[in-house]
Structure formats: structure tokens, C-alpha cells
Symmetry: C2
Subunit: 83 residues, 2 copies
């Protein structure tokens, strides 16, 4: 078994409103910053042991499907690093 850190980034799908990001963008502009767009995402870093990177990715993929992301409104990607 090898130790991995798997990172899941969960983003709102294109077209889904993100009022929190919109508020953050406006606050930055009010502070005088110049920006075109701001998107927010959730990131989970998961430490686990698995046979190989493929097994680690598959397990975390399943975690994302079942709990971390809501397929109706979210897209996600999974990145595997050996620890």
C-alpha cells in the first residue's frame, strides 16, 4: 500500500449563480481592486492509502459522487499525489 494525498476541487457548473463569489468580487472592487471575474470553489485534500494511484483516484471519485459534490450543480476534478 502507498500513501497518497488526493485533492478534489468542486466547482459550480457554468451558469449556476454564485452569490457568494459575486459579493466577494464586489467587495474587492470596493477596496479599489481591478478584476474581471471571480469564481469560488471548494477544495478537499484527502490522505489515504491505496494499492496504486488509479485505486486512490477511483476511491476519491466515488467520495465526490456520493458526498463531496452535488452532480446537479457541481463539476469536480480529482488530482492524485504520492505523499
Amino acid at each position: 500500500m502507498t500513501a497518497y494525498t488526493v485533492t478534489v476541487t468542486v466547482r459550480l457548473k457554468h451558469g449556476v449563480l454564485d452569490p457568494e463569489a459575486e459579493t466577494t468580487r464586489r467587495s474587492l472592487e470596493r477596496l479599489g481592486f481591478d478584476l474581471e471575474a471571480l469564481r469560488s470553489a471548494d477544495r478537499f485534500e484527502i490522505d489515504l492509502e491505496a494499492e496504486d494511484p488509479e485505486a486512490a483516484e477511483q476511491r476519491v471519485d466515488e467520495m465526490a459522487e456520493r458526498l463531496l459534490a452535488n452532480p446537479t450543480i457541481h463539476d469536480y476534478d480529482v488530482e492524485v499525489d504520492e505523499r
Copy 2:
């Protein structure tokens, strides 16, 4: 001016309790997943125009200091990509 997407990842400092991550970890375990640790982080993707990557990074660094991160409890890192 060049168009950049700058990504800020805001994490809780080591030792700061993260009850939300702890709840997520337990829920995953209750679903039958085997994991050692789970950390959560916020990620902001900011589109902006700047003279060069250094200027883009500096501007977003300032955004993080002033609004996106709370220096008492957060660490953050900044990553610049050309769009």
C-alpha cells in the same frame, strides 16, 4: 496588458480546528470509505489583466491579505496562469 487567471488557495493554519472537515470525514467513514485525514480549503479563481505575471501575483496577494484570507487563522498560496 496580458490576461491572467490567478488562483488563491486559502487553508486553515496547522492546529486550527476545522469542524466542517471533521464532519465530512466522519460522514465519508460512515459511508464505508477508508481515509486517514481530510482537510478543506477555499479556492478563488480570479481573472484579471496585468503587465506581467509578477504584477498579477502581487495584486492578488494584496487581495488575499485584505479580504480573502484572515491572517490569524489562514495560510494561502497564489498561482498565476496566463489565460
